[in-house]
Symmetry: none
Amino acid sequence: MSETSDLDAEGMPTLVDRTRVRDQPTTARGIRTRESLVAAARRVFERDGYLDARLVDITAEAGCSVGTFYTYFDSKEEVFTAVIQATQDDMMHPGLPHVEDSPENTPQVVRASNRAYFEAYKRNARLMGLLEQVATIDPAFRELRLKRSRAFADRNARKIAVLQEQGYVDPTLDPSMAALAVTSMISRMGYSVYVLGQPWEFEALVDTATALWLNALGIPRDGSRRDDAH
Amino acid sequence: MSETSDLDAEGMPTLVDRTRVRDQPTTARGIRTRESLVAAARRVFERDGYLDARLVDITAEAGCSVGTFYTYFDSKEEVFTAVIQATQDDMMHPGLPHVEDSPENTPQVVRASNRAYFEAYKRNARLMGLLEQVATIDPAFRELRLKRSRAFADRNARKIAVLQEQGYVDPTLDPSMAALAVTSMISRMGYSVYVLGQPWEFEALVDTATALWLNALGIPRDGSRRDDAH
Amino acid sequence: MSETSDLDAEGMPTLVDRTRVRDQPTTARGIRTRESLVAAARRVFERDGYLDARLVDITAEAGCSVGTFYTYFDSKEEVFTAVIQATQDDMMHPGLPHVEDSPENTPQVVRASNRAYFEAYKRNARLMGLLEQVATIDPAFRELRLKRSRAFADRNARKIAVLQEQGYVDPTLDPSMAALAVTSMISRMGYSVYVLGQPWEFEALVDTATALWLNALGIPRDGSRRDDAH
Amino acid sequence: MSETSDLDAEGMPTLVDRTRVRDQPTTARGIRTRESLVAAARRVFERDGYLDARLVDITAEAGCSVGTFYTYFDSKEEVFTAVIQATQDDMMHPGLPHVEDSPENTPQVVRASNRAYFEAYKRNARLMGLLEQVATIDPAFRELRLKRSRAFADRNARKIAVLQEQGYVDPTLDPSMAALAVTSMISRMGYSVYVLGQPWEFEALVDTATALWLNALGIPRDGSRRDDAH
DNA sequence: AATGAATGAGGTTTCATTCAT
DNA sequence: TATGAATGAAACCTCATTCAT
């Protein structure tokens, strides 16, 4: 249902549009400096939040002058984009357990996806919270997120539609609305636990998320077809 | 499942703690001024967002001086609280169709609740978006929200537990996690449509939300007990 | 030829468009503060030049905080406008010797005008230099100056045309070009002496300026008609 | 009155003192790079103005790095000097019609000088405006200009004195003041038309400038002596 | 109860110039 | 001779909040 490279409709991995970023520096030194700035920015953003993060703190943390910052980025918004992007690259290979994506395996696939998603969420919890914040503040990020969210939902919606035809999913549901609703639910569960600090066990989280997802779409947990399948 | 006065775990109606607000003015003139400030604040917040809203704009809109503002509120945060609260009062009588809250009626109750919730969301869309923003910015609001959210989830969780015992809800679910997850889903659907502008029809929204909710909790749509009820 | 209230085609007195300035403060205290800021700005501008004048210096000189500056002006450009305007008001009554403006009196009128102009230039030399600087820097000021310059030249051109018809001015000259050229000449003489520091005596300056002006337009110095008058 | 190589008291051709510029590069490559920098600087200065011209833009335009700039110039001011100087070299051969510089020919000489001057002004209008700007900004340029201006005026003043003795020029005029005044007038006419955009025809400009010049100095237009010549 | 002028810390941003490679 | 990353001082400007009137 959910692909590794598109972990979440609202999530980080697919968020960033590469066109937003200026040319990479050419020299080794330049690359090093840029990287240290991105790393420092992430630390400061996570520590102080997007709004309270000051450029001086970022450059102090990176061990360079304020002017150097502007060699690589035009604004705070732009470093934030770079931070997000660096994490995206960092999450390209999450090592999903190989489960064959056949209709009967749907429960296992959903469980594996959710597990991978929550693991990623946990690893990048602070950043996810940050993203949540920035999306409510900066229209550019909100817009981008919405776009990606729609694209992702459309893809999932198609899978749902196929499973409906094959008799695995509740046929009364609107595929695209259901897709969005269910991924939103998973995403908010991650947010509640890892950003807001709801004290739930990881395994219980995966179990409940998977059960609610399958239930919501009306997918039998044993891999069989629905009773109402023609 | 959901009460009118507690429309949403993350929503507006139950958000505001009355103890946060200072005493109401006593004179008629004072009451009028305060009201005009709250109304002006709402307009400016909705127009410019919380961060970009300037006190001078609010007072200009209200037709008074900045000094006067501080006669009634201690800070920007406090007017925002007042705006939220005024809306809460405004939503005290959403006119729920009177459906008896018996186990067999659960599907109707859920549908009615969802309908009322989305109607309220639509009416106050801008403010809901604002709330979303402020919750990511201001720890006090985040904290309050989390507290209320937990209280609400606990109450709903108890209802779910009861319905589980009576054989109406999937017995494998953790009541409190399920309660939070499901209300989050509904809330995000409202956000997607009325804040982000997802173009979905109102009736379809209610239908899908209700179906997913009932499915997720495993509540049979015909009001009967589950097959696995002992 | 030249009017007191329009001392110079390029000069200060007629330069400023009142529409550029925001509302005056209402309270006495506000008026006082604004005035002290304008006076301080003039001192700092004259001391450091427009480009090197810093807002902090102006406010320090005025004895207030930087924030207060922005209560009255939006920018450095705007105080500069106010400084110019204050000087304009200051020069509304230059006390021209009353010489009747009849054709035979033209030589006396020209001399009196030039004298008044150079006196004003001397009094406001620093500011005139500043104006010269700002006009080359800021397109808004350049534009305004050009507009006024044209209006002024047109008026003078009409007088020249009349004197041409009456046989007092060289009939081969184009009135509007001649008007602009001759006032430019006077203005540059003032600039050379009082801004650049050309060490010329005041009376010699008036004499030469008047002689060149009358000569250039072909006006007989004795108040008589030209020989070629029909 | 005016020499080709000294077109204007305030003008470009005689402005630059060669001693200000560092040694030319020796290698062919060095010469090429330097030239491309000067050409690029001129383009950028004319496009953006002196103040807004950034070194990075100049070097980008020249296709080299910022560091390279400092191989050839010590500062922004110095390239500007070089740009001015390059134009000066470019104007060494203005092709004046050969008119014998005898007293009776003065009207023709003045006309030819003015024509050549306005042609040069038109060709280098943007640069002349730039020069005007820089002279108000940079004391070094202002100083240099004043010095050259005085030297030029002195030379012209001597010619005027001679013509006065020969009975060709108004004997009441102070030669040096008159010289400066009259050249200033011509220079401002060029500025008005080609920098500020006063819409005057070239031939009319030459005619009027010449008439005013001759009139101002009291030089009879037919090449004859003045009536008051002893 | 109302006014509105005054505050001022502190963030963002710029760009000529230097210098190690 | 060429490179281009690094520098860092310094200027502008904002706006929630205070307080004298």
